[in-house]
Amino acid sequence: MADSKWMPRWFYQLASPRWCYQICGKLLPWFTVAALALLIGGTLWALIFAPADYQQGNSFRIIYLHVPSAILAQSCYMLMAVAGAIGLIWKMKVADMVAKACAPIGASLAVLALLTGAIWGKPTWGSWWVWDARLTSMLILFFLYLGVMALNSAIESESTAAQATAVLALVGLVNIPIIKYSVEWWNTLHQPATFKLTEKPAMPAEMWVPLLVMVIGFYAFFAVTLMMRLRNEILRRERRAGWVKELLLSK
């Protein structure tokens, strides 16, 4: 775009689908190895070596999936909205594609957080679902993802779909902190801490270190799947470009 002269060089490069495709291809093996190592190591640690919680017993081990997926679901939304904004303002195609690739990953992670939470809730609170602040705001985040995905699939023209989705994601982004605080406030008002989530400082190191490993592993895994989706999306949209034709025919 003519009026974005002040953008640094790497930004331009990122904007080139071809460059982006190649750099993703180079990074993918490294991230895959890291993700696998961290996730498998973390899971073994979490399941076998970490001590049981004195209150919740072994059901506590669900935390090693639950918390990373919950954190990732939120980070993913932020990435999606930021990428959407970049696509909207600078008309950068790659950013649109990143935003589009984020939505299904984020939604699946939100599902994982919701399901593991629900499963955890049964032994801990005695019911699959309660209208608790965190649960409710996670459910709403999931709805936001659904909305973004539905809107994207409903619009046929790809550039229009990307723009519309970006607007929605941005509006949702403004709203996420508002939802979080309103829901938390609402809940503490009506239902004074019947069920308090375990607080972080209360955790000994042999419990939270594997958690940290899992969280980092989840980030690596997120990067892997995002890059894979992004590469597909680049290929699909740039199918008329010369370099894609060369690439495909060279194989």
Partner: protein, 59 residues
């Protein structure tokens, strides 16, 4: 090592169902997120290559 035997490990102190259900779901979702783009990518490449070959023959 916080378990003394394998059966103890499986039962997770009575919470086996919940723990294994969660981890099962976790594995499914992680693998799904890896397999889905892999397969979509394969299909897409095959489809695009086929079209390219068709077009280059056609012209």
């Amino acid at each position: 090592m916080s378990f003394n035997s394998f059966s103890e490990f499986l039962s997770m102190g009575g919470h086996g169902l919940y723990v294994w259900l969660s981890y099962g779901l976790g594995v499914i979702i992680i693998l799904g997120n890896l397999i889905a783009p892999l397969q979509a990518g394969k299909r897409l490449r095959a489809q695009l290559t086929r079209r390219l070959i068709r077009e280059s023959k056609g012209s």
